[in-house]
Symmetry: C2
Subunit: 642 residues, 2 copies
Amino acid sequence: MSLLLKRLLVGRPMRSARLGETLLPTWLALPVFCSDPISSVAYATEQIVLVLAAGGLAALTQTPWVGLAVVMLLVVVVASYRQTCFAYPNGGGAFVVSRDNLGETAALVAASALLVDYVMTVAVSVVSGVVAITSALPELAPHAVALSVGFVVVLALANLRGTKESGRAFAVPTYAFIGLTLLMFVVAAVKGWGGTLALAETARLPLPATIHIGGMFTVILLVRAFASGCTALTGVEAISNGVPAFRKPKSRNAALTLTLMGVIAVTLFAGITLLAVRLQACAEPDGNPSVISQIATSVFGGGSALFYLFQAATAGILILAANTAFNGFPVLASILGRDRYLPRQLHNRGDRLVFSNGILLLAGVAVALIVGFDANIDKLIQLYIIGVFTSFTLSQVGMVRHWTRELADERQPRRRRSIRRSQAINLVGAVSTTVVLVVVFATKVAHGAWLAVTAMILLFFVMRGINRYYARVSHEISAEDVAPTLPARVHAIVLVSRLHRPALRALALARATRPDVLEAVTMELDAAETRELVGEWARRDLPVRLKVLAAPYRDLAQPLVEYVRELRRYEPRSVITVFIPEYVTTRWWQNLLHNQSALRLKGRLLFTPGVVVVNVPYHLGVVDQGWLGAAAPEQVGTTLKL
Amino acid sequence: MSLLLKRLLVGRPMRSARLGETLLPTWLALPVFCSDPISSVAYATEQIVLVLAAGGLAALTQTPWVGLAVVMLLVVVVASYRQTCFAYPNGGGAFVVSRDNLGETAALVAASALLVDYVMTVAVSVVSGVVAITSALPELAPHAVALSVGFVVVLALANLRGTKESGRAFAVPTYAFIGLTLLMFVVAAVKGWGGTLALAETARLPLPATIHIGGMFTVILLVRAFASGCTALTGVEAISNGVPAFRKPKSRNAALTLTLMGVIAVTLFAGITLLAVRLQACAEPDGNPSVISQIATSVFGGGSALFYLFQAATAGILILAANTAFNGFPVLASILGRDRYLPRQLHNRGDRLVFSNGILLLAGVAVALIVGFDANIDKLIQLYIIGVFTSFTLSQVGMVRHWTRELADERQPRRRRSIRRSQAINLVGAVSTTVVLVVVFATKVAHGAWLAVTAMILLFFVMRGINRYYARVSHEISAEDVAPTLPARVHAIVLVSRLHRPALRALALARATRPDVLEAVTMELDAAETRELVGEWARRDLPVRLKVLAAPYRDLAQPLVEYVRELRRYEPRSVITVFIPEYVTTRWWQNLLHNQSALRLKGRLLFTPGVVVVNVPYHLGVVDQGWLGAAAPEQVGTTLKL
């Protein structure tokens, strides 16, 4: 039943050999890996305007300059990451680059930052996608949390089916958003030329009195606006992480996609920022209607079909931006699982060759975050970009060292020049992102980012702890200098409650294993029943001694565990094998009708050292029981139907 | 942690040998077994008045006569059950009596009736106790469901601690209710004598016009009123069921308690009914304030301390009436479990020597009923007495046959006279209860009792089905003509993922069991890892063949199950033992860090016939591993702490 549901939602299992088939062509890689950075142009401008509005109209006029700074940073970071794509064709996320060049500690810091960042990407993107919906349909606003959670679930399911199929489903909104935004620019240009372009609806909002420009306050304001605008850069690193998912030549295709993404993001961001200035759009404190939807209202007209289409595309790409994280998080978690920084289950591929456990983990934490923050985009976005720039910085610094080492091994002058060039690009990237990280940390930490920082620190120590635990276990179980010798003696115990067929089978099996000592043990719950068993045992003249243990508290486990412990005191190098006859039923409700004491017993024995439990199942109602003593065939054939 | 909570709520485990200590003296047996019949006087009068009011004032004047009929029936039933106490000193509930004298079908009908009846007793008593509380404190009315459920939980906990302790806690409200009701009669007599007795607050309610007395309508009304008044008889059978819980001489003490109960119930019921007539109390359609609380208001004065004390005692005894069912249900369920009509778990005594599973089951179903019926007493009470009178009738008819058989074996004239006398009493009981059963069925079945009837029919077939299932299993596993012969061959398989200490231990143990065939098996998930294992295996020159199974779907269970099935095709009379090395961790979170694939594997193998799973646990971080191959001691001593 639950299996059927799983097949319906996720699809049939795929063979490991089909792993190569899930590789992505460039036109699909763009929506899969770049919906996050492209979609962030939908809210980055608003974040700038929101901060600058506090400085009045004079500060607002600085918007284009702040936007330009963000665009330049974007160009630098894209150029930097292009180098990474070539240097790390097997995937060069911040974790891998840091580990290879900066050591374990830096790598774990990067990994913590990335994991937090991915979770934030899902939460922020989905919630702001829902804001795009509620901007167009205000009556849905009360259901924002439920809508957001629903979208996360849909994304998780799509990704459980596999990367390629999800990429195809996600291509439409990405290209629709790009196309519609470009169309908006054209329409705005035409209308602006004709003088029919209306101002934004918030254009005449009362602003604070103009403040003296050039003072310390304005500088801080500009810095804060820049820090907020940097949300446009989130998700840029996803491609460098996902190089192995590209078709060959992997590195070249990845770099190409990265460049494409940079061009698109810069174009859209610049256009939207200029339009916001031209239309004098202000940000509402609750983000509703958003700046981008105000622009669309002015350009397309509020009730027009194009307006609703644009809002739908915006919502679509924002929600799918979360998909970038669904592609990145499970791969990173899998690498961390393989390297034993996270539980190894995260390294396993599921039925559909995707890292199912990572997908489920990401969706779970994101849902918790959305519910915990009541789907409030303003609060969520404060936690966001510290993680992003931490990993940017570590990645770029790592790349600079990477090239230094490459240079040391390289003698060919042309190659050395190329390496020097790459290193210079990464150095610019490293310096820029370091500066921005300091700025972001200083301006955001008091506004909620401390939570993200705390989560990163916690993750760091948890991952280091897990790694040390695995290392200890690995040392403990290492068999380097162990020769497989046999136990001194095997002492077999067969548990018997009544003299029925399952008990006789267990007894026969125990005898077939030729133990050094073999005895049957029964626990006395009811004196009359025990007397009957002892009598029957004697009458049958069974070649095994029957021992009766008292169970004064009607708990079967305690007396047996005590008996076994006593045995081990006398023969500490023996192994004690306990044979437990067990019913196996064909229908679930039949389990209700059989005493579950065997289960409890097994649980207790598991924690008793030196004991090995042997389950001897008896399949009720099954004709083919395999070997079965000397059963009369017509008895074996009894089938059970109720 | 959960164990600590259990100890706190339920107390320490008790030895089986202390079973005798929980026997009850008469003064404790009365509240334990009789709170139900005694407390039902609190609502029986109201049920009569409620029906008669539909016939107007003229019909209401018939109340004393209807009450008299109920009293007479009560006397007859009490006299009948006294005979049962003597005839069945080991407990003569309707089930036992029916089974011994009327056969399996009748016994199962009686058992179904009793089980339904016990559940209804809990629901009805607790809910009407809560009505007594909300009559005095109307502001609690919205929390009726939560209050009722809370009381059921408290009762269940008290009973999980054991009968005697719960009896002691329950004595106070029972005796308080009896004493205060008698005090109320005295005060009413004095005030009546002095002419200061006020009428009930509903005395002047508009009644339907008086209807011609003597018509068919009036007859039906009287019959229905009588049927409703019969709720006074619920719970009378509890004592005959619980004879073994009395101190010696058990039968005599039980009969004495029964008589005492009869006297008390008749006195209180007669007094309350007469007072209701005298004060012209009418029943409100929603039962709030109840007739008995109106009487208390008139007699004691609305705001007086005595009034609140009386309401508290009424609520107390009503809620504790549910305790009668908590004493009866688990014992009956235990008998049914022993006789294999219900799951055998119900036959086990828990830590405190009570039938814990029965207590939990009863509480669970009662809570479901209370929540399902929204704690509405009017609807719940309709389901009630059909079960009661079904078991009464079967019990009395069974007793009549019992005496017939006794008579056949008895020659002594004095004894024969005594038997004849007992039989006559039971015959009167049988005829009366049969008539009442017909009346109750006819008047109640359309008003909701069909649900109780349906539940009884369902229970009947479920119990018969369970019995037949157990009989089939018992026949299937019977070892009457089976000699314990050994399997043809033992084919041992050791699962290996890496060559670590747990794997070597499993291998050593498998060799120690001297199987006919021994091989190691590994599942190929990752080609490189498998190559490494094969190389290591060859390097070590292990004396066991290593077989590699492909796992193209990354599911370990499927290839192994297929391999085992293939083996069995060639050697069907062999047993295949699968040795699985398994980590046992000392802390719960460590389990998260180990792959749980072994668990899944074991689940699948359990359902594969002819396979026996041997768990070879490796206790991580434990120094004493028992036999452990030739481990260097300093390695064994590594303890794990994170």
